[in-house]
């Protein structure tokens, strides 16, 4: 169950160019959050940014009662967040949304992340009981790489692709997935990142008949299921289609259910 909380910021630090880590104190969220869930933040009192901003939970420290968010500075909201200081309080709604399915039957998993989509996957790796965990991450170029060490530690292998080849493999992260999918015999693929990437991952998983969950982004009015603005088209059991809510019915979906525009 999500709650409306005023939480204290422990620290805000630059992780890499344009990306910040915010550590927030919260017994409630650190105890209750599950991988794939997000929080919805009112970046300021007043109207400078009116709506909340959704940010995925990247890791939790239950013992210390805190959790980490990683966010990229994009517009007014994330700019305000990046300017917050230790000791400031922020207005947070969370944890929100449907989390990844971490069935213990999934013994061999792949996580496929692109850009700012990698953050919920770190939390997932932390919580997953799988035996083999392979991480495939894609970035625009070497300057955008974050959390490399953390992903390396939390998985059995980490491979990075960059669009411009400035680090790791040059090309798409999905190329690496495609290369390994036969040999690795994954029970489950988890993916989060830009839509073209998710579409490709979905195709690969389908072709090889591997279970796959993807986490989607959509512009949100409320983040908790009330306004129906965050629509995503999915297949119905009757073979038709319907709009469901990314914030409440997702953000994590079984890839086969999603109809990409």
């Amino acid at each position: 169950m999500s709650k409306l909380l005023k939480e204290e910021i422990i620290s805000v630090e630059k992780a890499t160019e344009g990306i910040y880590r915010m550590t927030v104190a919260s017994d409630y969220i650190s105890a209750n959050a599950e991988p794939g869930q997000f929080v919805n933040i009112k970046c300021c009192e007043g109207v400078q940014t009116l709506l909340r901003r959704p940010v995925s939970i990247c890791s939790t420290d239950r013992a210390k009662g805190r959790y980490d968010l990683y966010f990229q500075v994009k517009g007014a909201g994330t700019k305000i967040l990046a300017g917050k200081k230790s000791g400031d309080f922020i207005d947070i709604l969370g944890p929100l949304g449907r989390s990844f399915d971490l069935d213990i039957g999934y013994r061999r998993i792949a996580v496929v992340g692109g850009g700012i989509g990698i953050f919920p996957l770190l939390f997932l790796l932390n919580e997953s009981k799988a035996v083999v965990k392979r991480s495939y991450l894609g970035f625009r170029s070497s300057g955008y790489i974050v959390l490399q060490e953390e992903f390396r530690q939390k998985s059995n292998s980490l491979e990075i692709a960059t669009d411009d080849g400035s680090y790791g493999m040059k090309g798409f992260v999905t190329d690496m997935l495609e290369r390994d999918i036969l040999s690795e015999e994954f029970d489950m693929i988890y993916a989060c990142g830009p839509t073209p990437m998710l579409k490709k991952v979905t195709e690969i998983a389908k072709k090889h008949n591997v279970r796959c969950q993807i986490s989607l982004e959509q512009r949100m009015g409320c983040g908790f299921g009330a306004c129906l603005t965050c629509a995503c088209e999915t297949r119905t059991e009757e073979g038709g289609s319907q709009f469901v809510r990314v914030c409440a019915d997702g953000p994590v979906f079984n890839s086969e259910d999603v109809i990409f525009q």
């Binding site: 999500s2 009116l50 959509q218 009330a226 306004c227 129906l228 603005t229 629509a231």
Partner: protein, 306 residues
């Protein structure tokens, strides 16, 4: 200690306070129930209903604008019958007024819905004749005095509940439209619905909303809404429910001074799930500070500058 009475009776809709959740921003109350006690809210105008279920528009359906937001949900809803079956029993667990907000493509659809709802356990029907986010029907009715008179008098025949007509701000003279609705049998009016707007992503050179245009709501529209509520209250005798950008008790008091008997809170309910409660507490605090005991003491008490 406190002898402040916040209750209101709007054309027979009895509410414990004058703060109502605005249609489309509160779903059917289920989500908000996780954050607030629905018993403390005067009433809930549910997500706009249509005769048949509607899928709504393609996403993106929301864009933030300066001090406001555009939405183009397009009346996604499970249909009026499913509402009666699935949602009323849930809502009736709480002591809060239920207002069924309805929209149709044709006058027949409106009438059929009104008829169906006449047997349902609701407190009022709110006629949405001004949804800017659907192509056919709906919006057209609300734009002219003739249109609104026609739809209101027809629906009136089929509707045995208090009938609230919701007005669009996208018109030259909202007072004329209000008058037409009153004359045609509306029991109350609610305003404003959203202002039609557009936001453009200059990088992709496309409108942000998949639907291209959407309805503007939030604090940005408040001055327009207050002005319109004032104009309408000068023109009609039936009660008026004011809305548009209410985020605080102070905002609500502006509308009430301008003549509103009750207020609806929309966008604020998306940002703050507990917005209705906060607005209500703010009204009470204002009344206490000024020694008012009944909401009628503030409704319409604006003094014009001369």
């Amino acid at each position: 200690m406190s002898n402040i009475d916040l209750s209101v009776d709007i054309c027979g809709i009895k509410m414990k306070n004058p703060v109502i959740a605005a249609s489309g921003t509160f779903g059917f109350g289920r989500e908000h129930a996780g954050y607030v006690d629905l018993n403390r809210i005067g009433g809930i105008s549910v997500k706009g209903l249509t005769l048949e279920p509607r899928a709504g528009n393609k996403p993106p359906r929301v864009a933030e604008t300066p001090a406001g937001m555009l939405n183009s949900v397009g009346l996604q809803n499970p249909g009026v019958r499913s509402f009666i079956r699935e949602e009323i029993p849930f809502l009736r667990q709480y002591s809060t007024a239920i207002i069924a907000n309805i929209a149709g493509n044709t006058t027949e659809e409106y009438c059929e819905m009104a008829e169906i709802l006449s047997d349902a356990d609701i407190d009022a029907v709110e006629l949405n004749v001004s949804c800017p986010n659907v192509k056919a029907g709906c919006v057209a009715f609300g734009n002219t005095p003739q249109g609104i008179a026609e739809i209101t008098s027809l629906v009136r025949k089929y509707c045995n509940k208090p009938l609230i007509v919701k007005l669009t701000p996208n018109v030259t003279s909202i007072a004329d439209i209000a008058k037409a609705a009153e004359d045609a049998g509306a029991d109350a009016l609610s305003l404003i619905n959203t202002l039609l707007g557009m936001a453009i992503d200059i990088e992709t050179r496309r409108p942000i909303l998949a639907n291209n245009t959407g309805g503007l709501s939030g604090p940005a529209v408040k001055p327009v809404a207050v002005r319109m509520v004032y104009e309408v209250c000068q023109t009609v005798k039936i009660p008026v429910i004011g809305m548009g950008g209410i985020f605080s008790g102070k905002d609500a008091v502006e509308f009430m001074l301008a003549g509103a008997s009750a207020v609806m809170v929309g966008t604020a309910c998306l940002v703050y799930p507990d917005a209705c409660i906060k607005v209500c507490e703010g009204i009470e605090e204002y009344m206490r500070r000024h020694g008012f005991e009944r909401t009628a003491d503030i409704t319409g008490k604006l003094v014009l500058n001369t």
